[in-house]
Symmetry: D2
Subunit: 345 residues, 4 copies
């Protein structure tokens, strides 16, 4: 079968690979119909993710049709349309029992990382009963691809950890796909203010269309002042970090109100400064999280009831044959204005 | 000054009454600009509220302008436009410290009950610093009147106690003003389904306009079956009781899903049956609450940011001189289709 | 093998029964070493539990050693010492995903109810990975038997649902085994007052030894007055109903403080009166729950760290051969002073 | 009257000062009977607290008797025995309404900081109704002094923010008075493990006596390894930082388990490193807080019911005349083994 294979730092290829086979009674084999590319895939290609080694099929998002199931799989059968969760969970280990699926002792984020992933014609899904979700007939499969990773990540790490509330004020630092997904899911809770912050006016314009009540271009180095002015010098109740850089985490510390929360989504490569000399008495909460995808059932319901419309996140569409071009489009977002690129098998 | 005075069961009159005076250093005198009539005022007129005795000026809602303040009032001064909370709170007693203002040891629901109320030209507000809220310049005063009682009651007793969540299912039993206010505030949390239930098709049509995803006329005695069908036999996550009768509380028990909540808002005059023989193992929560108005700051923010528009609750407008007619219009809602009637001083 | 078999209302016998066999790849067969009898077993014998039919092996508690496992069981192997949970959970259905294992769509309370139970030499445990717990070497197996049902039931339905807090006041209505287990687990949260209420002075004396700060014999019909006097007329923050009768639920309503919680553990056979005419404005929460056993990992830790000592709940010990006598001892608790009777295989 | 006055960095004196007078109708004047010295007082003396200027009477803890009250004080009258909260709260500002008294817009930590404090014969207490607590007859006044600051700080910033639970594991980094108070209040929630960490074996011995289940002397630079070994390489659910230095905050990051919390109590003078490159996917929560003293009513109940015994924190006793000697004893804790020093007026 065709698959996008990581070949070591900076190298990848669309190659012929053996079709996956069942390895455990709880496995399923899924024939992919649609997948996408994540910012994390670019991190892998930079060589930043040591757990992902050369020869690995990338990808941890997508929808498909069940081709085969192991003897212990009870919730799915061949022919079922399914959403694939980016996080694999056994459901029964010490961490799964506390709903921290991201740290499942035999799962977590392994797809397209320590095991082969979804940018292929077929993928093996361990712990299939917990890691797949039935797609109701007539559902919009393109929209569903956004529920594999980006929406639960934004909701869980940003909005839920950030305790967004009706009437509260939220700043979203970084308006790439994950920041925009945070914006979409923040609206579930009817905050009074959503301030979108980015260096790119194009992305800020998108944020405005998605429902931001104000936008701040941080290119002039005065974003903190702008946010304080927008909030009557109070700062924001929730600062969602959706970049993963020291400078953006610094900005969060400057704009969070007393009693507020900094909810980190960004993948950080280096340590940051934490200004406890200023924050020790400010009643601040800082959270980190790898998405647990515990919110997927909730997201499916909001999608079906039209509380959520993630389709505008999709800016480009490709066939699996064109996946190299899809990667380029996604990697050069500043030029292509790409948010999420959809890849049909 | 003119005031609407309760004169014993079934009797009321618009009378001349002495203008109130400051009685404690924490009091304020407010010149009323707008008030309204509550279902509870009708309960008082039926003689159902023993704490309210003949000679009492009714009313516990409204907006006005501060006329005078006691020496210990620091948050307000004459000339300030203010929203009056239906609940008076000292802020410092054992119950206020746990934010249960409804049970303030020197406050709670006393306005138009055990002390004179707001259906008058002036009203004395005890514990003014805690019981009034500043109105920002340019705010819509009519909309604000809905924040004295009906919106915080619906939000706190129905929606917050009922733990409405994104993607969840909600049934609202009773689509009078309080049920419709519950519907408006439930939408803060983006539930997937809001099923409105009433005997009156007119009110159900209003509920539909306000955002109900389905309506059920319970007149045929088959409302429970209808709700179960709408929810694939699962029942609803939250059943909000907004009537106050044994039959409607019974319906809530029939339609609540395992793990769900029955959030009572209705004022009950008699005991009800609780079917513990069916519910003991269903993981149900039942809540009661007299509004604490702790959510008023949140509601003000949602109003100012246009997350909330309570204006459609107002169906009729009168002058204080016409308040007897306003009471008739409100009491005969089945004929007049009245929801909230606004009274301008 | 020998097993205690339910033979229809009022009838039971210790019989020879076929040894259970694996029926699904997720099953385990456990050789029992210790079990016990639950009040629910007596309910079944009265004919009150229609899901339990003649020919069923009773029992849903105990510890044992794994004899055999299905092909999909990964957490256990033959020879492992295990605690059996009274609730069977698949871990992956809609209810298990929200940790409401009691309503698992293919599990819940089925042992000794709709499938054969633990009062036998061997038992088949479905969904073994989720429904068994490893016993560390050297653990006290007798104490562990108390963690199958009675401790998690008391903790989850009574103490956690009742929101017991440091400094709070708790009343426990009913000092049978489950009420006493509630007392033991309430102490995890350091309440200031634990008032034990029962008709039996002997049980009240046990409650006192277990840590009750006051006891009330409700035989004189003045228990409510006694509790109000003990709490300076405020009532209790948490009333735990551990009986399952209309009269005891009525008492809970009389003694719960404004803002307090009635946490029901009792199995009710008939409906009760709910005095909403008095409680609608008292900010009360009422909860029901079938134990989910989500707290079992927490309880195991408290047991191992000596925060919990459930051994004093065990008053009598029998061999499996003597189980008919064990039932008599347990059923006639007023005479025998039995709390939990332990049965060794 | 006599008072301990700050005279600029490194300088203080016991001086004659004017007796305070009522400045607002909500003030009370309290005649001190007992006070103590806080680590923060030493910070002030180092010149680290710019809001505290030369000429200020220090101290923010203590008990006394009300001497005089303003016209708007309703909860207290002359002659009442009272506990003084270290945090002054109006109860009605935007922050007090959300129970964040530490950030009261006209209060917070002002005693012995921006207004004169309690190390004197008399003190003026603003917002007296909210900032004083009645002492019941017969209460142990020495124990109560520990409830002004150290116990609520430890409980709120460390234990409640740290979400200590039955069966959980806790590390307390720093076993000075505040760390030991965290240890005492952590026990309210029955954690399975409390690991005390310090450089001083004497303090570790005290921690052991107070209930630590293990102690680690961090002097050898291998504290992290020791904690990981004690927790089977899992780390602790809650790491309480009770020192305020970069090295101790670093240690917290090394030992916190996935899904755990770092609850900061320490007063930090410089920024720290936050290792987001390691923690971004570990589902960590970090909290900071200036004590709000919202837990004071809870603490009073635990004290009266003997759930809490803070007396062992008091190691030395002085008269107000000897306060300079008391400061020396407290400042040289390594030599004197001082924890809290009590000063009688």
């Amino acid at each position: 079968m065709k698959a996008l294979v990581y070949l070591g730092p900076q190298k990848k290829a669309l190659q012929d690979m053996p079709k996956p086979v069942l390895a455990a009674p709880t496995d399923a084999i899924v024939k992919m119909t649609r997948t996408t590319i994540c910012g994390t895939d670019l991190h892998i290609l930079k060589g930043d993710v040591p757990s992902c080694t050369s020869g690995r099929i990338l990808g941890h998002e997508g929808v498909g049709v069940v081709a085969e199931v192991g003897s212990a799989v009870t919730a799915f059968k061949p022919g079922d349309a399914v959403l694939i969760s980016c996080v694999t969970a056994c459901g029964k280990c010490v961490n799964c029992r506390r709903q921290m699926y991201s740290h499942c002792t035999t799962g977590g984020w392994i797809l397209g990382n320590s095991i082969d992933g979804t940018q292929a014609e077929y993928v093996r899904i361990p712990h299939a009963d917990m890691s797949l979700y039935a797609i109701p007939p007539g559902a919009d499969e393109e929209a569903l691809v956004m529920l594999s990773d980006i929406l639960p990540s934004a909701l869980e790490c940003g909005v839920l950890n950030g305790r967004v509330q009706p009437g509260s004020s939220v700043a979203i630092i970084g308006c790439g796909p994950i920041g925009l997904a945070a914006l979409l899911s923040a609206k579930f809770y009817s905050p009074a203010e959503i301030i979108a912050i980015d260096l790119d006016d194009g992305r800020l314009a998108v944020a405005k269309r998605f429902g931001a009540t104000a936008t701040v271009n941080s290119g002039d180095g005065h974003a903190a002042e702008a946010v304080m002015q927008l909030t009557a010098q109070r700062g924001v109740d929730t600062a969602i970090e959706a970049v993963g850089m020291p400078a953006t985490f610094e900005l969060c510390q400057q704009i969070v109100a007393a009693g507020g929360t900094i909810a980190n989504i960004g993948v950080h490569g280096v340590k940051v400064d934490l200004h406890l000399e200023k924050l020790w008495d400010r009643n601040i909460t800082i959270t980190t999280r790898l998405v647990d995808t515990v919110s997927t059932p909730m997201l499916l319901k909001t999608l079906h009831s039209h509380q959520l419309d993630p389709k505008p996140l999709i800016t480009h569409r490709f066939k699996l044959d064109q996946i190299i071009q899809a990667y380029e489009t996604f990697a050069q977002a500043a030029q292509t204005h790409a948010l999420k690129v959809l890849i049909e098998a």
